[in-house]
């Protein structure tokens, strides 16, 4: 499974990517929305994009629309510092899944498998 991580916290994505790789996922990561768009433009295919909601420049919500436009098959998971499941900053129907930071790795892997399996 090919996964794209987008978060402006550099060390955080590195660690998260390493942990996912250890669990058998194929992971790419970038720190801005622009880089994510650039990466998708090169033609690389991702099954799931994991996006931080709050980022400088292009935020997670906007980035999701952009990526979805370029690859309608792509699934999305949002990460946010707002620690609750019904965060009002997420528009209804916009997010496929939503996880509060800090995340639990088991829950995260479970969510990835669930989102991918929804195909």
């Amino acid at each position: 499974m090919n996964i794209l991580l987008v978060d402006d916290e550099k060390k955080f994505v590195v660690m998260l990517a390493k942990r996912l790789e250890l669990r058998g996922f194929q992971v790419s990561f970038v720190n801005t929305g622009m880089d994510a768009v650039q990466l998708v433009k090169t033609g690389e295919k991702f099954d799931i994009a994991v996006l931080d909601v709050k980022m400088p420049g292009i935020g997670g919500i906007e980035l999701r629309r952009e990526l979805h436009r370029r690859d309608p098959d792509m699934k999305f998971i949002f990460l946010t510092g707002h620690g609750s499941d019904n965060d009002y900053s997420i528009g209804a129907g916009e997010a496929t899944q939503y996880l509060p930071k800090p995340i639990k790795i088991d829950v995260f892997v479970e969510t990835l498998l669930k989102v991918a399996g929804n195909d």
Binding site: K11, R19, G59, S84, K101, P102
Partner: protein
């Protein structure tokens, strides 16, 4: 009928007196001399007090006869007492020598003699002021009674005690005084009760208003604390996530790669890091939960009613200070889907600010109109008060900025208002000219949409 020798010749009545000789009776003797006679009260043969009226008639042969009629004195007494003369008044008949002819209540002395002096003769009804035997002033009305044929010896006297006459008047006067006193007492009582009722009503209303203002301010302050808490939690969650993933990665190395698995102490330390992060996560979640109490609760709101509700709080102050309040909120503005408490507080804060800026006799103008093709509503609150200088204007929404005297303003009112408007996905703007007045314009979506700014 009595013949000229004094013998009764005919009789009609209850007593059989035929043949009696009246030749020596004073009234008979008087009748012989004069044409007629009205006697005084006397007890005749029957020993019953009565009055005799006798008329002499001369026959063509020169002899005469007398027609005599007897009147029971009791009837006369009844007739007199039937006059309702009042308790200090006496009415009676006397003769010209002062001998009582009918009984008197007050002025009857020994041997039926009148105890007050008899007034001098007058052929007309007269009145005079005199004194009774006890020296009390009295008013006497009297008439010497004459018939057309002969004078009688009767005198009708009405005697009124002056004191008694006054008593009726005094009684009336004291009654009126009592009535006036009682009614003024009742009026004073009613005024007092009404006034104290109104005063307590006003007092209650003022206290209610103060309470609402304090609650609104507190709510505003709590809302800003909530926003602060949410911001703090959000900022802490990111570094926590980094610690979490780093420690997790180290743990992964131990558990998945196996090459470090021989050191149980290291694993223990790493577990303690992860547990601590989890604890921090719980704390930040609680902080966010706290801020969520002040989250938006959407409901349909009738803007016109709400503006009137808010202005109602200031109605009395406006009256005191002679401030005119104009409102123009068109009826075509639909129900606004937004948070009632927050919108109310925005209005309260802005109207409150306007009232602080306004001089006595000023004007507050609140008007609304639809904007953005009916998707948004524009609410303008304008005062013609002191205005804000250009230097201050850019800072009015900043926290802790105030132009009010020290201790008067927290400097949070407008910044809280700004935060609230933002929460409702609206915009707030200010225009002002020093000395001319200030206008705050709040633009709100009719349907409070959720934005995605994270």
């Amino acid at each position: 009928v009595i013949a000229d020798n004094g013998t009764q010749v005919a009789y009609a009545g209850p007593f059989n007196l035929k043949g009696k000789d009246y030749s020596s009776q004073p009234w008979f003797l008087e009748c012989r001399q004069h044409k007629a006679c009205v006697s005084e009260t006397f007890s005749g043969y029957r020993d019953v007090p009565h009055i005799v009226v006798a008329v002499r008639s001369v026959r063509p042969d020169g002899r005469f006869f007398v027609l005599r009629m007897t009147l029971d004195t009791e009837r006369l007494i009844q007739a007199l007492s039937s006059y309702n003369t009042g308790e200090h008044t006496d009415i009676f008949l006397t003769n010209r020598q002062g001998l009582m002819q009918t009984p008197s209540r007050f002025y009857q002395g020994a041997a039926h003699q009148l105890t007050i002096p008899l007034p001098a003769y007058s052929d007309r009804t007269k009145a005079l002021v005199s004194n009774d035997p006890d020296g009390q002033p009295i008013v006497i009305g009297y008439a010497f009674i004459n018939t057309k044929i002969v004078p009688t010896s009767f005198v009708l006297m009405v005697v009124k005690q002056k004191q008694g006459m006054m008593k009726v008047w005094l009684d009336l006067r004291s009654k009126i005084n009592w009535f006036l006193f009682t009614s003024s007492l009742i009026i004073v009582l009613v005024i007092f009760l009404t006034a104290s009722f109104m005063v307590s009503k006003m007092f209650d209303a003022d206290r209610e208003k103060a309470k609402t203002m304090v609650a609104a301010e507190q709510n505003g302050q709590l809302a800003s604390i909530g926003q602060l808490a949410a911001g703090v939690a959000h900022e802490i969650n990111n570094p926590l996530a980094l610690i979490n993933e780093t420690a997790g990665y180290i743990k992964d190395l131990f558990t998945i790669k196996k090459q470090y698995g021989d050191d149980p102490e290291l694993i223990e330390h790493i577990n303690s890091i992860i547990e601590t992060v989890e604890r921090c996560g719980i704390i930040t979640r609680q902080l966010l939960g706290f801020s969520r109490h002040f989250d938006v609760q959407i409901q349909g709101i009738h803007l016109k009613n709400m503006v009137f509700d808010v202005l109602n709080f200031y109605k009395k102050e406006a009256e005191y200070r002679d401030i005119a309040i104009h409102t123009d909120i068109p009826d075509e503005i639909p129900l606004i889907k937004t948070d009632r408490g927050k919108l109310q507080q925005i209005l309260l804060n802005l109207v409150n600010n306007a009232f602080h800026a306004l001089d006595n006799g000023g004007l507050l103008d609140v008007r609304a109109n639809l904007d953005d093709g009916g998707k948004r509503v524009c609410l303008a609150i304008r005062d013609d008060g002191c205005g804000i200088s250009e230097a201050s204007l850019s800072k009015v929404f900043e926290p802790f900025f105030t132009t009010k005297k020290e201790g008067k303003g927290t400097g949070l009112g407008l910044s809280i208002t700004y935060g609230l408007v933002k929460k409702l996905y609206g915009e707030i703007a200010v225009q002002s000219q020093l000395g001319k007045g200030t206008t705050f314009t709040v633009t709100l979506p009719i349907q409070a949409e959720r934005d995605f700014s994270g």
